[in-house]
């Protein structure tokens, strides 16, 4: 009898002030966490393969760069358009550094960068350029195909929302 009542109470709880307070508190907490701290994101596209697969679910950890700027090798979430369209890219060069692609190899300040996360890169060529202040240079891990078909370049630090949780 008691079990039956407990089950009923669980699925059809009485609308007591305490219950409404709990519901309100949980809603507020969920809004703060999933609206501002750990924003859910679904990966669409292949630009970060093999590290992140198309269709995977992740969260953007907003406090990641609260006290320190992104470092080389970090994967960052970039605000691309409005509040909901974001890009996932890897930081390869920092401000004032010189970046260049030569026959598919990425060179930073003239030195080839070790990139174990890149599989079978296409032979990209891009003349050297200096990364402007308050920006970082980002590229996707998937370097297959022609350079024209890829989104990469320097992005303002202000547009970096955080990093993927895993």
């Amino acid at each position: 009898m008691n079990i039956k009542r407990s089950i009923r109470q669980f699925f059809l709880p009485s609308l007591t002030p305490a219950f409404l307070f709990r519901v309100g508190f949980i809603t507020l907490l969920a809004y703060l966490i999933f609206g501002h701290l750990l924003i859910p994101l679904r990966i669409q596209g292949y630009s970060m393969e093999p590290t992140y697969q198309n269709g995977a679910i992740n969260f953007c950890w907003r406090l990641r760069y609260l006290f320190s700027p992104p470092k080389r090798g970090d994967v960052v979430v970039i605000r691309f358009a409005g509040q909901h369209v974001t890009l996932l890219k890897r930081v390869v060069a920092l401000e004032n550094e010189e970046v260049e692609f030569r026959e598919g190899r990425l060179l930073v300040n003239g030195t080839p960068l070790e990139e174990p996360y890149v599989r079978s890169p296409y032979r990209w060529n891009l003349p050297p350029r200096k990364v402007e202040p308050q920006t970082v240079y980002v590229v996707g891990d998937n370097r297959s195909g022609s350079i024209e078909n890829h989104f990469f370049g320097q992005v303002s630090l202000k547009r970096i929302l955080g990093s993927p949780l895993w």
């Binding site: 970039i78 358009a81 409005g82 920006t135 320097q154």
Partner: protein, 166 residues
Amino acid sequence: MVKMKSFLILLILIAAGMGAFFILSQNEEKRVKKQLSLLAKAISKEAGETVFKMDQKMKTIGSLIDDPCDLQIPAYSLSGSFPRDEIVGYAARGRLHASELRLTFHDLRVSFPGQDEADAHLTARLTGRWKTGETVHEAHEIRCHLRKVEKKWLLSRVEVVEVLKR
């Protein structure tokens, strides 16, 4: 007593002025949003669109843009000031390559920097299919400037925000 009465009248006048300004600016904001919504509908294309419908839509596009209009859309190699007819021509040719297109605007923010001037900041999403069978799935952050000409808001500048600069 007289002073008090004058003070109250002044307060009421200020409140009425602020209220009128708020209502009027709201109306103007609605008008700007309506123009942009008309533009999105005119650029969109349903499968099997008739020539008559296409002609109507091109006229609508022409009625929404200023002559000339400044375009900064590097993705489509458009940069500079273009006459209205030329822009309508570009739109018509672009739509011809698509079997269906859907343009929607999101996160729309409108501000009024001066008399008869408006700035709109928005996210544009373009989805659909090219006649080659390839799907279209693009999102861009866009800044527009509009000018009020004979009580109509016309687009005088459209700029795609460059997030990643190579």
